[in-house]
């Protein structure tokens, strides 16, 4: 390695650099080494393994496997359950991202400078983020229980007939989305609070002097545009987290009823650990990673554009 990089001095002189000495070369590799090794072991190697697995017909525990090319992907493309789970995941993500971002912003605006109790409220709203979602799912199961659940009891007071929220095809996914919003909005709230505290108060003074006629006008003129970077971050993070939904599905609906809550990671789990089709589960994982990559790249591009615009 060292010899290779010592060669080609002509290229260096073009760049205007002096040739590096061998011991500097070694030091550089020594410094980069640990981090590179960790990244390789933790991220790159598993990713390569998953991509490789997705090209095989490997089954969990099987002794033999063979290379099948893109057969797993072709199978997925023709599998209505897979498409169903993509659609469900997207639906869930849109609902949870919109819900948790909107609610998080609303709560952050309400809490901003709301006095001595603000830290207490902040903690309460942040609790679901820290709680174990499987444990909380059980609590929600009781709340949504068709006969003795709190939700039906409360709705009964205003004359709504009791429902089996998690077993009804029309309400199961929305119910999971509500739980998702409940779990995530505290995270959005904390980020929005940080963003709000970064807006100079003089801008609100300026808006007032400039004649912004209402709180809404000031929000449109100052708060919303200045929160844009935070909002983008919140949307990206909660999109990724929504795509990862699994715990509540596994604990509450197992994809049912009639596949209305079949989501991407649950499908992957079922393929890999119930049907033992590891190759196919790996293909789903690759699709999942690709989707996340698209979300992240979109964010990076948007941020780059913003930076250049300034």
């Amino acid at each position: 390695m060292t010899e290779m990089s010592v060669s080609a001095p002509a290229d260096r002189s073009i760049a205007g650099e002096r040739p590096r000495r061998p011991h500097e070369e070694r030091a550089a590799w020594g410094l980069v080494g640990p981090a590179a090794t960790l990244i390789g072991l933790i991220l790159v190697v598993p990713l390569i393994v998953v991509v490789a697995l997705s090209l095989t017909d490997y089954q969990l525990g099987a002794k033999a496997w063979r290379f099948v090319g893109f057969a797993n992907y072709a199978d997925l493309a023709g599998d209505p359950v897979f498409w169903r789970s993509i659609a469900n995941t997207a639906l869930y993500a849109v609902a949870v991202v919109a819900g948790s971002t909107g609610l998080g912003l609303a709560v952050a605006l309400a809490l901003q400078g709301s006095g001595a109790l603000a830290p207490v409220w902040r903690t309460i709203f942040f609790l679901p983020v820290m709680a174990s979602l499987v444990a909380m799912a059980i609590v929600w199961e009781f709340m949504l229980h068709p006969t003795f659940g709190l939700v039906n009891a409360v709705l009964g007071l205003v004359g709504v007939a009791p429902m089996n929220w998690l077993q009804n095809g029309a309400t199961a996914l929305p119910a999971l989305a509500v739980i998702g919003v409940w779990q995530q909005f505290g995270f959005a709230m904390v980020l929005f609070l940080a963003g709000l505290s970064g807006i100079p108060t003089s801008l609100y003074d300026a808006a007032e002097m400039d004649g912004a006629p209402s709180a809404w006008a000031r929000f449109r003129l100052v708060t919303w545009p200045l929160l844009a970077p935070v909002t983008l971050f919140v949307v990206v993070i909660s999109t990724i987290r929504s795509f990862q939904v699994f715990d509540t599905v596994h604990a509450l609906t197992k994809g049912g009823p009639n596949k209305v809550t079949e989501v991407l990671l649950y499908t992957m789990y079922a393929e890999g650990f119930e049907f033992f089709r590891t190759g196919r589960a790996a293909a789903i994982a690759v699709v999942f990673v690709a989707a996340m990559l698209v979300v992240t790249l979109t964010k990076v591009l948007l941020v780059e554009k913003r930076i250049h615009a300034r």
Binding site: P200, S202, E208, M209, D210, G211, A212, A217, R220, P225
Partner: protein, 372 residues
């Protein structure tokens, strides 16, 4: 253009009194500076006039009308902020347009995309664009119209903030330390620019600064504030030459005024008849650096040793150690023969420029030098 009457304004933050009954009358079209050290309450007073902060007691009148019940947006004032407070996501032209957009367009007309196609909207938008272009032209920032504040220098941002204030014709301009974030050279440049802007707009300006040089060079009148009270209001000349209070004398003028404590004997030797003072032995005598000359030390009432020389090119400041703790500074023409460090010189103070204060710093106008 409007007269601003400030009547008995009091303000506390928690238990700390910030303003202790401020009375000021700013004439229509006047340039009045509120000057004082940081924490004296000048910015709070400006915010109260603007309507951004509520007073605890007292009243503000604009053009003869009580405005205490009006929100800032309804007072028809414009303000320039220390950090400019430009909207970072809007272009220069959009920033300047905001006051017009907020006042001339309806909520529906302000909507993005849709708003422009509503009835009457096109004409209103065109009128706003024309007004913005006119102001940008006046301030020489037309070329920057489509840039964002983040790409611009401090001086350019300052101009945009001025443009945003000017684009409407407000009753008065309020400026809160608008130059203090600029470098020294630009600050001097903008000083004359703001002064000429005031002459052109013929509008009332209230200008807050901690820099006495800004106040002296731009204002029609100066109000010197300290500890939540106005100590003196007057023309720059009057405040400089005829201060009511030792704190005013010390705050205004650069280099700082010379102050010595004197008993009756020293006062008499310097030509002051202290017999009429309530406490003839506890006097504080103040004189500007240009009111004192270096003379032969023999027979001089006051003499000192030269400890430091400061050459400004136009002036030479000679620092002399006398009995007083703080050296006395004498302004000299650098072309005159120069004193050397270590030499002893006598001081001759023009009696008519000698200001006499009591121990508490109050001016004793009845006690004056014999030459007056």
């Amino acid at each position: 253009m409007a007269r601003i009457e400030i009547d008995g304004i009091e303000k506390r933050f928690g238990r700390t009194p910030v303003l202790r009954g401020i009375d000021l009358d700013v004439a229509a079209g006047e340039f009045l500076s509120l000057v004082g050290p940081s924490g004296c309450g000048k910015s709070t007073l400006l915010r109260i006039v603007a309507g951004l902060t509520r007073e605890d007691r007292g009243a503000i009148r604009l053009a003869g009308e009580d405005v205490d019940h009006l929100a800032a947006r309804d007072r028809d004032l414009a303000m320039v902020f220390q950090n400019y407070a430009l909207y970072p996501h809007l272009t220069v032209a959009e920033n300047i347009a905001v006051p017009l957009v907020m006042r001339r367009l309806t909520t529906a007309q302000r909507l993005p995309l849709v708003g422009r196609h509503l009835s009457g909207s096109r004409a209103a938008h065109a009128a706003i664009a024309a007004d913005v272009a006119r102001v940008a032209e006046t301030l020489g920032i037309a070329a920057l119209a489509n840039r964002r504040p983040g790409e611009l220098s401090g001086g350019q941002r300052q101009r945009i903030a001025l443009g945003r204030a000017m684009v409407r014709r407000p009753k008065a301009f309020l400026m809160d330390e608008p130059l203090s974030n600029l470098d020294a050279k630009l600050r001097v440049e903008m000083r004359s620019e703001i002064a000429s802007l005031h002459r052109r707009l013929e509008t009332t300006f209230v200008y807050v600064t901690h820099d006495q040089a800004e106040a002296m060079t731009m204002s029609d009148r100066i109000a010197v504030m300290m500890d939540g009270a106005v100590l003196q209001v007057g023309t720059p000349d009057a405040v400089y030459a005829d201060p009511d209070d030792l704190r005013v004398a010390e705050f205004v003028g650069s280099p700082k005024i010379n102050v010595i404590t004197a008993d009756a004997a020293l006062a008499a030797a310097l030509g002051v008849d202290a017999t009429r003072a309530p406490d003839p032995d506890g006097l504080r005598l103040a004189f500007r650096t240009e009111a004192v000359r270096l003379v032969d030390p023999t027979g001089a009432a006051l003499a000192g040793r030269v400890v430091h020389l400061e050459n400004f090119g136009s002036d030479l400041m000679v620092h002399l150690a006398v009995a007083a703790a703080v050296p006395i500074v004498v302004r000299r023409d650098p072309h005159d023969p120069r004193p050397r460090i270590g030499e002893t010189w006598g001081l001759s103070i023009r009696p008519d420029r000698l200001l006499v204060f009591d121990a508490a710093g109050r001016r004793l106008r009845s006690v004056v030098g014999r030459g007056a």
